[in-house]
Each structure stands twice: as C-alpha cells, then as structure tokens.
Subunit: 254 residues, 2 copies
C-alpha cells in the first residue's frame, strides 16, 4: 500500500470551504472526484487544513493511501487534467506509511492581505480585505508582540470550535507594508500579516487579524490584546476578519 | 453643460466586453446603470476602448455630458457605491467641451501576460495565458522589432474589423521576463508583452501576441513577421491570443 502526499493550491472564491458538505462545491469534493475518475475507486483524503469558504491556499498538504501501485510521475498531470481550474496539484510524493497530513503537521503559515486605500482594485477584491481608514501599523505591531509564544488562545477561538486543548504556539507574527504590481507601473499598496504557529484553533487567524485591525483603527489600545488573551473569553476579542483575505501559505512536517 | 472624464478599471472575467449588447452583462451597461441611479436620467458614455469579453482594464477613459451642475468631488464615491465590485471609477475630472474619450486618444498602452510553466497558478488563471512549452524570448524580441513603427496592419486585424484605414503606429513593443509575488515567497514567473501605439485595429494586439508566441514556440521564423506584415493578408498571421491575458493599461490625450 502506497501513501501519497499531494501539495495543492486553490482559489477559495468558488468553494464552500475545504471539507465535504452535502450539496456544496468543496475543495475536498473536487479532489476526491478527480481521484475517483483516475483510479475508479473511492479514495478518502486526509488534509492538513480544513479552510473555510472563501479562504485560499497555495500550499495545503493532503495524503491518501492506495493499494495498487501507480506511476506517481504522471500523477500530478493526470489529476490536474481531471480537476477544475481553481484547484491544482503542485507537488506529489510517495511517503512512508506513518505520514499523516493532518496529525503530522508541525507548523503552518498563513498570510492575510489588507488593501488599505480608498478604492479597492478590482483584481484584488477576492483576495484582500478592503479597509478605507488608514491603519496604524506601529500600534498593530506592538499588539502583535503579545500574541507571539505559547498561550491559551480561547479568546481567539470561534465559539463552536471543537478543539479541547486551546493552547497553541505562535512562532512568528509579522505585519508589514508590501505592494503588488500586476500590470503597468502601478504599485498596489498592501498590508501583509504573516503568521506561523504549531497549529491554529478554528477561526483563530481571522480573529487575531480582526482584533489587530481594531488596534490599527485606534478603537482598541495595543495593551488590550494582552488582557483579551489572559481573559480566555471569546466575547472580548475583535470581530472575525473576512475569509477572503486569508491564504494558507505552507505546512511543515518533520 | 459639463463634460466629465472618468478613468475606470474592470475585471473583464464577468463581462461580455465593454460595449452594450442586448441581454448581456457589459461594462458600459453597468456604468450607465450606475449613472442612471445617480442622476435619474439616461446618460450615454463615450469610451476610449471597447474591449472584448474577458479583456481587463486598469485605465480606460470614458466621458459624458451633463446639463445639471454636479459636485464632482463626490462623483467617484457616489458611482462606486452604485457599481458592482468588478468595475471601479478610479479618477474623475471636469474637461473642456471638446474632450472626447474616443476620438481624442493619442496613444494607448496594453499589456499581455503569459504564464510560461507547467502548472497554472490558480489565482492567475483569468489574467494570464497558460503556455506550457518554453518560449524563446530572444526570437520573440527580434520578431517584435519588425512591428514597431508606422505600418499597414491589415494582416493583424480581425476579418470583421470595421476600420477602413489600417495604418497604425506602434511606438513601443517590449517583451520581458517578470514575476509576481502574491503570497509567501513564491515568485510566479511571467512573460509580459507591453505595447504602446497611436491606436489599434480590432483584435490587433491579440493577433500580434498570437503571432509572436508562434515565433517563441519555434513554429515560425522571426523574419516571417515582416513577410506577414507586408502581405496585408489576415490569413498569414498567427492564431489570436486568448482575451483573458490582455489588459488595457492607459490611454493618453494631449
């Protein structure tokens, strides 16, 4: 039995998230459909991340086991030719039996994009959060420092998250000005929030971003973030940032 | 009577092109709907460019005349709040009576993006042409040189183009390797074809790109481009490049 690891990317816009949902178009649904077309049997995918509707990915990892030997060289092309254009397999590997994309993940990196200007560029509308009010990046950076390290993140976990242990470690949280040139010479200014940790609770990244943005708007003091964290109470944190600004960048294993 | 100039951008993906078409969603249709909502009267737009379905723009210019005086300061915001998210007004100006967005245009610049690699990144699928075969950029650059200057571009005009005079002047045609980083550190390599001229015949840019790509693939010699140009025969040029790789960058007036 072979254990196959796939690295995939997807545009979250057209999906009701990663996880299977009856009657809805999901990333896992499209992936399993393509695997079925290829192998003529039902294959169950294990995934590093079950992102919400609208969330993007450029580096999710999934794995599946297969009894019959297959030529993995052509697997990527064979799957891509059976997948819709908004999901792509960007890497394939044969792994040892013990490899598990979900439980083996040691760290994950997400990025959140904010367009902080008056008129939202049309081509970024599905990948960045539009905030017109000028954000105070220096206050946001100070606030972010309180979150780095090992903490109980109950205050930043969605009410219906099903993780019992709410302790996670954030290795890095970097907020920076950045820009993007798609066409011409026009640099589109963006705020980029990059966060790496050993794992994230349900909606934790978006709750952190939402809270940091309130600090950036000046409606919260940077020191409040520490109070919120210590309170272990979801009611205290800021509003959840919208899904479409978020992208899973990479997942690391041992 | 005031003559208002608007600079607009749009994501061509969801439109059947710029020009009005019965029963179809068009850029002009959405713009005129927004103007109607705002001024409660039918307003006719004059445009620098009537791009095809799928073609993008980050700098089209339109104008319209209005009898009643309006506060142009708020016009941009007022229109954007009445427009769908895939069209934005990015500039407004009051111009003299003689200004005409169509006939006053002195030069236009387009860019065409090509993703020249094995797997198309999902987030570029609507803005770049995917070509797997490695293109010979140096041959394409040589071929491009034949096109720069004042020529009869009959060979590069779509059969049903309605321009009688087929002479146009290409001021600049630059082909370059470029890259795009949306998230993470992954640089997505692109080929960028930038073309500026005093005007373009129907589908001329896409026919030029299609022909240059055939040179890049090695199925045509760079010198053939000169022969095609001189022949003034549309049957000789390459296939029209797909619409979604094309973007109007800017339009210049006196």
């Amino acid at each position: 039995m072979r254990n196959i690891k796939l690295t995939i990317q997807y545009d979250g816009t057209g999906f009701a998230g990663y996880e299977l949902q009856p009657g809805k178009r999901t990333v896992r649904g499209e992936m399993e459909k393509a695997l079925f077309k290829l192998f003529k049997k039902k294959i169950k995918l294990i995934s590093s991340s079950r992102t919400d509707s609208g969330v993007h990915s450029v580096g999710s990892v999934v794995n599946f086991k297969l009894l019959n030997p297959i030529p993995t060289d052509n697997l990527q092309m064979a799957l891509n030719s059976r997948l819709p254009e908004d999901v792509r397999v960007i890497g394939t590997r044969v792994k040892g039996q013990e490899f598990n994309a979900r439980f083996g993940a040691k760290s994950k990196t997400y990025e959140y994009l904010i367009y902080n200007g008056p008129v939202m560029p049309v081509h970024l509308r599905n990948i960045a959060w539009h905030i017109k009010q000028q954000l105070d990046l220096s206050a946001m950076k100070k606030a972010a420092r309180h979150l780095v390290g090992k903490h109980d993140f109950t205050s930043f976990c969605a009410a219906h998250g099903d993780d019992k242990d709410k302790v996670r470690e954030i290795h890095q949280l970097v907020i920076s000005h950045s820009s993007l040139v798609i066409w011409g010479e026009t640099k589109v200014p963006l705020i980029r929030i990059r966060i790496t940790g050993n794992g994230f609770l349900y909606k934790m990244v978006r709750n952190i971003v939402g809270t940091l943005v309130e600090v950036g708007r000046g409606t919260r003091d940077e020191a409040e973030v520490k109070t919120i964290l210590n309170a272990k109470n979801r009611c205290l944190a800021g509003k959840t940032a919208p899904a479409h600004g978020l992208c899973l960048i990479k997942v690391c294993y041992n």
